[in-house]
């Protein structure tokens, strides 16, 4: 196991406290937790691609990173107006 794989496992484990926010927090706080998890997912995908030596999988991280902005703004716009 390389440092990258170990760091990705550790970083995923770090997102556990956000489960409490998603479960018990208000809607706006749940969206914040979602943003943190989104950023962590991008970093984990990159570290796993690097750790397992599979260059083809970096594109997935790029696509997720691009979609983070769009999905976040759609969530927030819905929160402002309808939810």
């Amino acid at each position: 196991m390389t440092g990258f794989v170990a760091a990705s496992i550790a970083m995923l484990a770090c997102t556990l406290p956000l489960g409490a926010v998603l479960w018990r927090g208000k809607l706006i706080e749940a969206v914040m937790a979602l943003q943190v998890v989104g950023a962590v997912v991008v970093m984990v995908l990159i570290m796993l691609s690097e750790g397992f030596g599979r260059p083809g999988e970096f594109e997935l991280a790029v696509v997720v990173a691009v979609l983070l902005l769009g999905s976040g703004l759609v969530f927030l716009r819905a929160l402002e107006r309808w939810l």
Partner: protein, 112 residues
């Protein structure tokens, strides 16, 4: 173990610690606006550390370029989403301030 491996692992460990601080901050802080400060840790600081770790490990290669591209999107969208979140929280709490001032596009009350 080469020096670059040690440096890369140290950067990764620092990134994990930053993410842990971020998630604990989001979980523990009281209201939405205080939590928002800790979101920035995970969307701004940690990605830069991971990008540096890949750069140290691989040097200038295709992997590094795609890593920096992905993390550039994360770093650029972080502040935008933080501002949009604060705005949404303010509108949900106090109503659309532009409506209260009698101008701007309709808020939730208008659209029903």
């Amino acid at each position: 173990m080469l020096v670059k491996d040690v440096v890369a692992d140290a950067l990764l460990a620092l990134a994990v610690v930053v993410v842990l601080g971020s998630t604990l901050g989001v979980a523990v802080m009281e209201d939405a606006y205080q939590k928002l400060h800790y979101v920035g840790l995970a969307t701004l600081v940690a990605p830069v550390l991971v990008a540096l770790a890949v750069l140290v490990q691989k040097g200038y290669s295709e992997n590094t370029t795609e890593t920096w591209l992905a993390l550039l999107f994360v770093v650029l969208s972080g502040p935008v989403l933080t501002h949009a979140t604060a705005r949404a929280a303010a509108i949900r709490e106090r109503g659309n301030w532009r409506l209260l001032a009698g101008e701007g596009d309709p808020g939730p009350e208008e659209t029903g």
